[in-house]
Amino acid sequence: MTAQAMDGRLRRARARPELANALEDMILRPKNGEGCPRGSRQGELKTYMLESNGGFPSRLESDGMLCEVEDAGLDRVKIMRARRGKDSTEFFLDMEDERFLRLHTVARAEDADRIVDALVRDGRHMFDNVWFHPAMLKRLADKQGSSFRSSGAACSDRFLRSGEGRREDADSPSGGGLPAKKIRDSAGSGRHAGRAAARGGARSMRGSGTDPCGSARDGTRGAGYFAAKRGKSVQDHLRLVDACKVEYSRTIAYIESLRIGTSEIEGKMRVAGGPFNFVFPDSIEDLDLFIDRMFNSDMPFNLWGMKFAIDEGYFKIMAIDLHANRPIDFEITKDFMRVYLFKGGCGNTLLRILANLQLHYDANAMCRQITDSPSGNAPD
């Protein structure tokens, strides 16, 4: 880590105590949920990281939900209240980085999940989850000051035809997640077992594990969700979230530097960029189904596309990324997929594709330009 980067990090850490205090107050505030159902996680600090291409409006309505943003008396931090009928859920909206917003709450995970999901699904505001692909999750959980503790595994039937298999969608490091071993046991051994099970979440530890007041144990999920599972150090939780944000934004910047388009270099307009190459070590068995599920305009891929055959077993998809409303092209065979991200396109889309392919289709699917990117391997 360079001295400059260290200095930047220290400045950031010093700039956050007000937010940490406000969050501690939020945690300690008397809960109105004495009758909360067993298993709910009210009181636990959770942070959702969202990627935003259009800022956060002061008021937005979406699918029967009204969100209003008001001043929190803190620098670059607002309070967002989401109301649906009589229910109201409160978040601290951290706008220190306006592209990567962080929403902190102690509300029940089910309520908060529903609100964040509604924000992302409403395409008008150009929000997206951030997408930690499984290798990134492990690396983030291992970041300096943290130690990787365990991972949850996930598999799903998103790419199965109806009636084939059963749904085992477990995008959580706790509770719902099927351990990788169990998936391997049920799926048999060998290459296909690894293909079925992807890391959908990770747990990490910061601070001293013997001192609950000076440590935080965080659960991190692929779609940019951090939950302080044990321990009471809000600062440690915030530092982990900040460190993940820094690494994630570096990766996005690197991806966007490879976009295809024109740019002015040394006063001359030139073209630059190239495709991202995804490879599938285990060939795609049903290419029609694969393409149909990826480009059906639905979550999690959020892509619409027109499919054309270039050659036998070789397709071109002229797609639209519905998150950013930008064109994106694909060329797909059973063994590889080229992705053409054009200038103006959102780098987050590439991470959305990689993370969800690994989670829902094949844990061995790979895009080396992303996983081996300089930012991806950058020292902390």
């Binding site: 073209v271 054309f308 270039i310």
Partner: protein
């Protein structure tokens, strides 16, 4: 989804993409020019020469490592015009300096070359002294000297690669491409344009500004091509937009629906269906 019809770009557009693919790290496509450092810098750009005449190569790729540029003209037919050949012969190293960065103490050297397919090569090669980069079904090879020993050596033997898959998306379409090649790009551009303007009172799709914007949205090289080439592309988009929207009421309603913020899954699926039908109607043999 489910359009599934054959997509064949024109041979000329395809050759541009094949050449550009050599300069990128492209899966299942040889990167013989990427490895020695060639990167595409100009596409469809007119170059004014000191001699007073102009050339319009399809692609210029520059290797900073070799201080060398390849000025490529893609040939889909059987002929090289003697007049064009003569103009390319007047290109001097200094002419390129205004368009690409001149690197290295000795300045930038260059080679003009034609890009063709093996089926046409013998006939084309009779008409010119310039070198060629020639694509076959599973190989790429060079003919003649590029004035750069490393490249001459690399291209003098065919690079054979089984399972070569033509990259098709660097350069989407050209002004002279057929309607069925341009239509999908324009349809997508229409959706992007109205989605970008949703919530605003009007969607002036008939305006020149709209066609300019659609070009920027669907053609990644629009910002750096010559004004003549750009004007021709805008004209092509205008013609196709007017044709699609004046003849197709359901498409017009879908486009306006998307403009009103109705681009949910169902709307986009309806749009897919409309696109599929239109593309089928506009494909070869149905015009």
């Amino acid at each position: 989804m489910g359009i599934g019809r054959q997509y064949k770009a024109s041979t000329h557009t395809r050759l541009i993409n094949m050449f550009v693919g050599l300069c990128a790290k492209t899966e299942s496509w040889p990167h013989v020019l990427f490895d020695p450092g060639y990167r595409v810098e100009l596409v469809e750009r007119t170059i004014n020469m000191q001699s007073g005449s102009k050339i319009s190569p399809d692609v210029v790729a520059v290797s900073e490592d070799l201080s060398h540029a390849i000025v490529a003209d893609c040939k889909s037919g059987n002929n090289v015009s003697a007049e064009q050949d003569e103009r390319y012969g007047k290109l001097k190293p200094g002419d390129l300096a205004h368009y690409v960065a001149v690197r290295g103490p000795g300045g930038l050297k260059h080679a003009v070359c034609y890009v063709d397919s093996s089926a046409n090569h013998d006939r084309l090669a009779r008409h010119t002294r310039f070198p060629f980069i020639t694509f076959g079904p599973n190989f790429v090879e060079g003919h003649g000297s590029f004035g750069q020993p490393q490249i001459d050596k690399k291209l003098s033997v065919p690079t054979v690669q089984e399972g070569m898959r033509v990259p098709d998306s660097f350069y989407p379409f050209a002004p002279d491409d057929e309607d069925d090649e341009v239509a999908p790009h324009v349809l997508r551009g229409l959706v992007l344009y109205v989605a970008e303007r949703k919530g605003k009172a009007r969607h002036p799709i008939a305006d020149r500004g709209a066609h300019e914007r659609i070009l920027e949205l669907v053609h990644p090289h629009a910002g750096a091509m010559s004004s003549r080439h750009r004007t021709r592309l805008v004209d092509r988009i205008k013609k196709m937009t007017n044709m699609l929207l004046s003849n197709e009421q359901d498409l017009r309603e879908l486009v306006h629906g998307i403009g009103r913020g109705e681009e949910g899954t169902a709307t986009m699926q309806d749009f897919s269906t409309a696109c599929a039908r239109l593309i089928k109607e506009h494909s070869h043999g149905n015009k």
